[in-house]
C-alpha cells in the first residue's frame, strides 16, 4: 500500500536534503560569536558548533525546485489540487525564513516538516469501538456515498468486525432502489451471521431503517448499520431523501464511503455530502488496488473528518481501522 507515493516522496525528500545542504554550503557560516551564551564556551566546543551545528536560513529559491516536484508527485498520487497546494504551502512555510540548525539532522528536518504537513491535513483518527462503548445503545450508523463505492460490502465487513469485538449488530437494507442490492446484502449478512431488516424493492428506505432501529430496541442490539442506495451529490431529490432519513432516524454516526482510487472528484463529492447531510467519519474502500493514498489525504483534508476504516480486499476480514500516524509513517517509509 502507498508504495508509489512512498518511493516518490523519498526522492523528493533526498532532493530537499541535497538542496538544503547546498544552501548550507553556499551561505556564509553564521558565526555565533554575537551570542553571548556561546562566547564563553571553550574553543573545541566552538569549532564543533561551527562545523556541525551551523545555522542557515533557507530561502524560497533553495527549495522551489524540489517542492515543485513534490507537487507533481502528490498530484500523480491522486492528492486533490487544493490539498496539494495546502501541503506545499505548509511545507514552504516550515522550511523557509526561519533560522535552522544544520548538521546531522537535515533528514530529520525534512521528514519532520513533511510529517507535520501531512498530519496537519489528515487530522486525528477515529476509534469506533471506544465510540460504541461510550454511547447509548443502540448506536445508529448510517452509510452514505455515491454509486459503486462499496457501501454494501463495507457494511458486511464492519458487521463482521464489530461482532468479533463482541458487539451485537443488525443491518438495515436501505438500498431499495438498485436491482440486486437486497439480495447482495442478505447473502453477505447471512455469511457474517447478522440479522437483516428488509422491505420490498422500491420501499421507503426510511421505513426500513426505522424498523431496524425498532428491532434493535426490542432485542437490545448494540449497533444498527443502515445501508443506503448510492446517489450522486448533484441529485437534489436523492439528497433530500437522505436528509429525510437523517431527520427521522437521527443517526449517531454518518459514515461516508468512497473509494481510494477516486481522483479529484472525491473531494467535490465528499464536500457536498458533508454539506448536505453531514459526515462524522470516512470509510475508504478498494485500498488494495495499488492505491496511491491520495484520496485519503484529500478527503480528510477537505472536510476535516477522520477516516475510520480502510477496505483492503474482497474478504470479510479485509478491513483495517485507520490511523493517521500509521499512514504518515508508511508514506514516509517508517512503518
Amino acid at each position: 500500500m502507498f508504495d508509489s507515493l512512498k518511493n516518490r516522496i523519498k526522492t523528493v525528500q533526498e532532493k530537499l536534503s541535497i538542496n538544503i545542504q547546498a544552501a548550507a554550503l553556499t551561505s556564509p557560516p553564521s558565526l555565533d560569536e554575537g551570542k553571548g551564551k556561546q562566547g564563553k564556551i571553550r574553543l573545541t566546543e566552538k569549532v564543533r558548533t561551527l562545523v556541525r551545528d551551523r545555522e542557515l536560513i533557507l530561502s524560497e529559491k533553495d527549495i522551489a525546485e524540489p517542492l515543485a516536484e513534490l507537487e507533481l508527485v502528490l498530484l500523480e498520487n491522486d492528492v486533490a489540487f487544493p490539498t496539494t497546494e495546502a501541503i506545499i504551502s505548509t511545507l514552504r512555510g516550515e522550511l523557509t525564513g526561519k533560522r535552522r540548525r544544520i548538521g546531522s539532522s537535515i533528514d530529520t528536518l525534512v521528514v519532520e516538516s513533511l510529517r507535520s504537513a501531512l498530519r496537519g491535513v489528515l487530522g486525528s483518527g477515529f476509534d469506533i469501538t471506544t465510540y460504541l462503548r461510550t454511547h447509548e445503545k443502540p448506536v445508529k450508523i448510517l452509510f452514505t456515498g455515491v454509486n459503486g463505492t462499496g457501501k454494501t460490502t463495507s457494511i458486511a465487513k464492519i458487521a463482521y468486525f464489530l461482532r468479533n469485538k463482541g458487539f451485537s449488530v443488525v443491518i438495515a437494507s436501505g438500498d431499495t432502489y438498485r436491482a440486486g442490492a437486497q439480495e447482495q446484502l442478505s447473502t453477505l449478512a447471512q455469511r457474517v451471521e447478522t440479522k437483516v431488516i428488509q422491505h420490498q424493492p422500491g420501499a421507503d428506505p426510511t421505513a426500513v431503517i426505522f424498523d431496524a432501529v425498532q428491532y434493535a430496541n426490542a432485542h437490545h442490539t448494540d449497533v444498527v448499520l443502515a445501508d443506503t442506495a448510492g446517489r450522486f451529490h448533484n441529485r437534489a431529490n436523492l439528497m433530500n431523501q437522505l436528509e429525510k432519513i437523517k431527520r427521522v432516524i437521527k443517526p449517531d454516526l454518518i459514515i461516508y464511503v468512497d473509494e481510494a482510487v477516486a481522483g479529484n472528484d472525491a473531494v467535490i463529492r465528499a464536500e457536498e455530502f458533508n454539506r448536505l447531510v453531514g459526515t462524522d467519519a470516512i470509510m475508504l474502500t478498494k485500498a488494495d488496488m495499488d492505491m496511491k493514498g491520495g484520496a485519503a489525504i484529500s478527503i480528510a483534508h477537505t472536510i476535516g473528518k477522520p477516516i475510520a476504516f480502510l477496505g483492503t480486499g474482497q474478504a470479510y476480514e479485509d478491513l483495517k481501522p485507520f490511523s493517521p500516524d500509521v499512514l504518515v509513517g508508511e508514506i514516509l517509509g517508517e512503518a
Binding site: D78, V146, A179, E183, Q184, L188, G263, A266, K292
Partner: protein, 438 residues
Amino acid sequence: MLDTLGTSLKDALRKLAGKTVIDRAAVDELGRDLQRALLQADVNVKLVLRLSQTIKKRALEEEPPKGMGVREHVLRIVYQELVNLVGEAAPVDLSPQVILMAGLQGSGKTTTTAKLARYFQRKGLRVGVICADTFRPGAFDQLQTLCAKINVPCYGDRHVKDAITLVKKGLELFTQMEVVLIDTQGRHALEAELIDEIIQISNIAQAKHRWLVIDAALGQQASGQARRFHEAIGIDGVLVTKMDGTAKGGGALSAVAETKSGIVFIGNGETIEDLERFEPGSYISRLLGMGDLKMLAERAEEVIKPEEVDVNAILRGRFTLRDMYKQLEALNKMGPLRQLMSMLPMGGMEIPQDAFDVTSTKMARYKVIMDSMTEGELDDPSVISSSRIHRIARGAGAAPEEVKELLKYHRMMQQALKGMRGSKFNLQRLMKRFGKAQ
C-alpha cells in the same frame, strides 16, 4: 457534467483574449493553467505534461490563419490536440458479436451491460446476456432484474461457482442470439487469479470486443489499471460510466491513451436508457465549455421527430412557453434537462442551479397547467394577466401560485438562454470551423 473542467480551461483561455500577438509569457501561462485544469480533471500527469508541451510549441510556432484571433488560434490548437488524445470513438457495428465486459469493482459493469443490451435491442438485434460474476452476491439478481425489464434473456446460475463453465454454457444457450454480452466480476490488476480468469474467459468466448468499464471519477490509477487489463485481454474500447456526477472523466482519457483504443459509450444516468454513443468532437467541445449542437440534434433525431424541438429558435432567444412545453414533453425521451442543457453551447454562462432542481412530478404538473393556456398565451407569456392566471389555474385544477411559479420558471430559463446567445456568438462560429476541420 464536464463543466468544471470547461470553466478552468476557459479561465486559462480568457487570459489570451484581447491579445493580438502571441507572446511567450502568455503561452507559458496558458500552458500552466491548462496543466492545472487537466490535472484537476484526473488526466494522467505524464499525458498532461506531454500535451501542454505540444500545445505550447504549436501555439508559438504556427502562424494563426488569416482573420483568426490569437485566442481562437490557441483554442483551436488546444481542441485539436485534445481530439488527438481522445481519439476516434471505438467502432460499434451491428453484426453478430460477443462482447466481454471488464473493469474494476463498482465501476458499473452490470448496469452498463444492461444498458448495452437495451442499446442493441433498440437497434433491432436479438440480445442475450451472460452473468459470469460468481463472486458478488446479488450480481445475478441485479442483472436478471434489469434484463427482465427490457425482456432480454439473461443466463446465470447462483450455484455454479466457476465463471468459465458459466460462459461456456451461456454461449451454447445463446447461439441463436446476434449479440451476446458477458458481464464479469469486478477485479483489479493486482488480483492475479482474477486476471487469469478473465484471460481464460476471453479465450473461450472469442469475444469480438473486450470493453473496459471506467468510472468517471477514477483518478491517476486509470492508466495503470487500463494498461494491465490491456496486457491481459487486449482492450479495444472504453466505456465511461457515472458521467452524470461531477467527475470529469479525465481517467478515461488516460485509459484510451494506454490501450490505444477509443471511448465507445458514455453512461450518464441511472435508468437503462442513459447510454450515449461517444463522439470525440462533442466530448472535447463539452470539455471546452462550447457545447455541442450536432449531438443534440442527433440524439433528438433518434428519439423524437426533429420538429419537436426547435433548437434554432431557442438559440435565437425566442424561448416561448410552447418551447418549454415541447421540452417537457421530450424530457422523458431525452433525459433530464441538465443533460439537454449541457449539450447546448453555453460557453461562460452559469445556469442557475434552481433551474435543474425542478422535479419530474413538477414537470408533469407544469404540462397540465400549460394545457389550459390558449395558443396566444403559449406564444407570448407576457399577455398573461392575473385574471388569466386565475382562469388557467381553474382549468388545470391548480392553485394560482402554481401558475405563477411556472411563469417564474419560464422566465428563469429564458434569461439563461438569452445570456447564452449574447456571449457565445464567436464560439459558435468557431465550432463551425471545427466541424469543417474534422
